[in-house]
Symmetry: C2
Subunit: 365 residues, 2 copies
């Protein structure tokens, strides 16, 4: 499977009820759909008879206020992934560079516009941390675009903002667009200081994309945005845009952004408390190398050589838990898995299931 | 304005409350959001925490059953307009022909892929009816794609299915894709006999697109589909597709399609009764040439030479009614307007507003 969170497919393939599955394969806030959003959706049901605002003015104003970016540079889309496709389509790079392992849709979007793709691999020996100077050395005038994810999916590593400045200056100099996908930045401790959003007016070759899917627990609603101040790209986006891509419910999401600080506070509190506890418990099993996360998911390497990741995954499905087998990420071997961080109770269920399954697999050998 | 139904823009521009406006500029079923859909959406709110089914299997099965098409040839999208863009992107025509006057997004989508566009103009002298033999004569191997809308928007004319067979054979022979947008076909009397959907397995160069927006009163939900059996196009669509384009609520729309015959019946009954009555009343004003509609909207030509369409439109906004000025449709002069057909009460309000405004405009001259 290309993506995590594919519960319908799991249900069809394994004959298990998708509602009974604990989904650790998608990195969604366990606090669920905000109540403030439910209220808005209830009120907006009658409004489905009207087309949404084709300019999404209220939504863009709210995003601008919340993230301190100029409204005129904001582009909204049907999920962060549509913004990624549309940004890449607007640039139409002939040659691009992608930092791997990472979210597979950058490569798909680049191939869709016929781009040649240069691979830059993060090194396992360096815990998949980026050497920014090494990346800068790879950038020359033959490139049109560089794509990376920060914090990176699936590794969970974060590049600090100070390291980006040199990279951005090089990109500006060589006229190479740098697209940084910050789909998980809302989860980062002091993320408002780490995001590149506020640099988007200083560097015209910078494109930043964001998603509301993960932090606000709404992958089913479809909403994301991006920012870019490059005038020609903005014109291109307007020219190529499919109308009414954001549905009515999602178009009112600005109200949640501006008013639901409680949801935000609770989410960050849960994550700050649960992450070290859960990481510690996972390490204590002795089964995994656990990569320290900056976000709400954890990359792990399965250590026992006699157990295969796909075996572990299949057995866990039988226990009602779905994890992400990372073998289809370019740059990761078939020893890696990714799991979400959920509430303490669920996380304990995952730990119990892992212990049970591993004992079974060990005994069967 | 490029499109009708742009209530948010009207509110910003004219300072009128959009909720107080009778919107005759968008062609939406006045029965509003089906109650069956409301129930589904209430139940699905918790499900927003999950990604929608990336393959939309249940939705496609329902569409296949309802419209009698092979599930494997169905493509679903975030509104009919996304299906149109994606079909055109999959064909990537170098040269195309569009039958005008028509919905403006075909031209935008064709320009987005860099297609040269040949214009085929329907003739006012022939009440904008298509001479199918004349169109067939225009088709040769230099073309890659022909796009037309049936029933046509904004003219409301319908091409009978028997006339398409010759056109389809010619397209097949010359390897030219024919995309027929049937966004309003559900409104047509015995539309299940007029649609080309069921021909989509016989002719591999045929692409048919549909929308649920208009008939089911849900432009805010975003859902449409298309069919095509051409293997390379289907592969291209899979390869280029942005994941999760249909949101969770829309992904459950299949249940409405298969169970809510009552909504369908009531809609068709209203339209059969109201159309002749409303057309008759409009003709009685003596102000318009009224083009006989096959659907839920009416093209009209304003007859008094001393009144401009944009004057009429602006005055009607002050009366709380929004009509569609058709002057931005290629092939229509600035004498044309399009109005939706609504319930009898609303239609009477429109007639009253027209009479009031026309008297005012006449006296001011």
């Amino acid at each position: 499977m290309t993506h995590g969170g594919n519960l319908f497919e799991i249900q069809r393939q394994y004959g298990v009820d998708r509602n009974g599955l604990l989904d650790y394969s998608a990195n969604i806030n366990p606090l669920g759909v905000p109540n403030s959003l439910r209220k808005i959706m209830m009120e907006a049901m009658d409004d489905l008879v009207n087309y949404p605002d084709i300019h999404y003015t209220d939504l863009k104003n709210a995003i601008g206020e919340k993230y301190k970016v100029t409204v005129d540079n904001i582009y909204v889309g049907n999920g962060g992934v549509q913004v990624i496709f549309d940004f890449i389509n607007a640039v139409k790079p002939e040659k691009s560079l992608v930092v791997y392992p990472t979210f597979v849709e950058y490569e798909r979007a680049l191939k869709a516009v016929g781009s040649e793709i240069k691979t830059y691999l993060l090194n396992e020996d360096n815990d998949f941390k980026l050497h920014i100077d090494e990346l800068i050395n790879e950038i020359d005038e033959t490139l049109d675009m560089v794509v990376l994810c920060n914090p990176n999916n699936p590794t969970g590593t974060l590049i600090e903002r100070e390291f980006f400045e040199k990279l951005l200056i090089k990109c500006q100099e060589k006229e190479v667009f740098l697209m940084v996908d910050e789909a998980f930045m809302d989860f980062v401790h002091e993320g408002e200081e780490k995001t590149l959003l506020t640099l988007s007016e200083k560097y015209e070759y910078l494109m930043v994309t964001r998603s509301f899917t993960k932090f606000y627990g709404i992958p089913g609603l479809r909403l994301g945005f991006g920012v870019c101040c490059h005038i020609k790209i903005k014109q291109k986006l307007t020219q190529l845009a499919i109308p009414w891509t954001v549905n009515t419910f999602a178009s009112y999401f600005g109200k949640v952004l501006l008013t639901d600080q409680e949801y935000e506070r609770k989410t960050l509190q849960w994550l700050r408390e649960e992450t070290p506890r859960f990481v510690n418990e996972l390490e204590k099993t002795g089964l995994f190398k656990v990569y320290q996360p900056s976000v709400n998911y954890i990359l792990m390497k399965l250590l026992p050589k006699n157990i295969e990741v796909n075996q572990l995954r299949e057995k866990l499905i039988q226990e009602g838990v779905l994890i992400r087998d990372c073998s289809n990420f370019k740059g990761l071997s078939n020893r890696f898995i990714r799991i979400a961080i959920k509430d303490t109770g669920s996380n304990q269920q995952l730990l119990d299931a892992i212990n049970k399954v591993i004992v079974g697999l060990d005994n069967s050998l």
